[in-house]
Amino acid sequence: MTAIELTGVSRWYGDVVAVNDITMSIGPGVTGLLGPNGAGKTTIMHMIAGFLAPSRGEVTVAGHSSWRNPEMFRQVALVPERDSVYAFLTGTEFVIATAKLHRLPDPEAAARRAIELLEMTEAQDRKISTYSKGMRQRIKVAAALVHDPEVVLLDEPFNGMDPRQRLHMMDLLHAQGEQGRVIVFSSHILEEVQRLSGIIQVIVGGRLAASGDFRAIRRLMTNRPHVFLVRSSDDRALGSALIGRPAVSAVELTTHGLQVRASDYGTFTREVAGLSRDKGIRLTQVLPADESLESVFTYLLAS
């Protein structure tokens, strides 16, 4: 079953393209939208949730266009990134109000269940204005889950959470996905996606850079060419030895040491140590020079 379909979706603001011709299908389970800040993840989330019209293409949820379709929220929940809730309400009041807006038959019981699920029982009678960012995030999720939705969209759900809260939220979302719900969350943090999601959609510069099983994409990320800064007791000798290795595609001698371009991360890191030992050269530094997430994403986009 495919719950969410994006077909040739683009979104632009004037001359700025935020999302560029994305086609993707999202089914049951946990799917992570991964990408650097400003990649277009939030724009995609908002289009799926019907809070933004695509400039081109179509977004459907359960076969129906999400734009101007509030009835969709009987089955869909959105947890927005923005930390804005009705701060003058208590946690319980907020979740009960949401349950009533969904016209649930027993809003109090539904709210109690959702609050317990998010471990917010202790703080439920306090005003939301007194909550920490992590607690606000959790009460937002409780309100979102109060009507037992089929599809849950979470925009950067782990922002502001401490490690324990983060683990609990990950377990919760994982369990929801296991139960057959469609859980879609966005994140710019690789580790969050790695821990939680089997399927990822990598968004870079408004485009879908990679899509599919996380492990396959992770392999692609690991096997991409890497640049290392290497320092040793004899850079010139080490450089000439390295250039003869298949795992190394380029070596440049700089004032700061050797800049080595390796085509295979694993092989290079194994070989450089052995090679320097064989040559009697003392290694003082092997530093990956392009390990930022942005460089990983850029590589994925280029490939």
Binding site: V16, N37, F51, P70, F73, L78, A143, H147, P149
Partner: protein
């Protein structure tokens, strides 16, 4: 995907015009904000002026002049503060998303918020207008009653306009629109260009007030038929536009 997992819901219609939760939350949000205290200040000043003039002035002309001009200006500004915040404040801080991420109809959101704005405007502007009129000319005087009824009519029209403004413009621009409308269009142009009164909520209210008070010092430029008719048309158009705009409510995402 079906709704099979979802629990059984009540048979209540979601297409109703008003929603109790939206009304309660809007009421608490509006009265919760510190500026709610500000709502009470202008009407108290109006009542104070009325009491002072009643005690000191001998001219019989001041009640319609002052209560018609100053009183209805306070009515307009109060409606701008309240009507501009019932929807605008939630759009401004983003909390509207929690309300709109539910199947509640956008029409009931607008009408519920509009109702709250009208009731609060009546409490903070129309009733003080009556009290000021009662101090000036007596509790059962036609002027006091006329101004009160006219202010109630004005509360309906002004709030429709200002709710519409917040659904179309950003909160800052909506406020600018409201101030321009009140001060430039109604305050300046309507006294210089007679035709402007046809598109003035103040003059719709004054037309109603004058139909009861029959007092030329109110400077009502419209007949009651024209005032009420135009008021209904303007209010209806403003509310339809508001519902339409809220149905297409968009939040901007990050831009690559």
């Amino acid at each position: 995907m079906t709704a099979g997992r979802s629990p059984e819901r009540t048979g209540q219609s979601m297409s109703g015009l008003l929603n109790g939760v939206v009304i309660r939350v809007t009421l608490r949000a509006t009265m919760n904000r510190k500026r709610a205290l500000l709502f009470a200040v202008p009407p108290l000043i109006l009542i104070g002026i009325s009491a002072l003039l009643h005690a000191t002035a001998n001219s019989p002309v001041w009640p319609p002049e002052v209560l018609g001009q100053v009183g209805y200006l306070i009515l307009a500004l109060t409606a701008l503060l309240i009507g501009g915040s019932v929807l605008g404040a939630e759009i401004d801080d983003g909390s509207i998303v929690h309300l709109l991420a539910t199947p509640v109809s956008r029409r009931s959101v607008i009408f519920s918020k509009y109702l709250v704005a009208v009731v609060l405007t009546i409490v903070f502007a129309a009733i003080p207008e009556y009290l000021a009129g009662a101090i000036a000319t007596g509790a059962s005087s036609k002027l006091a009653i006329g101004l009160f009824v006219g202010a109630i009519v004005g509360a309906f029209i002004y709030n429709a306009l200002f709710v519409m403004a917040t659904s179309i413009f950003s909160p800052g621009r909506a406020l600018a629109f409201g101030l321009l409308y009140i001060l430039a269009w109604e305050g300046l142009l309507s006294s210089l260009v007679p035709g402007v009164a046809l598109l003035s909520a103040e003059h719709y209210g004054l037309a109603v007030a004058n139909s009861i008070a029959h007092n030329s010092a109110l400077h009502a430029h419209l007949t009651v038929g024209t005032g009420v008719g135009m008021g209904i048309v303007v209010t209806a158009i403003a509310l339809v536009l508001s519902v339409n705009r809220l149905s297409a409510f968009s939040i901007k995402g990050d831009v690559a």
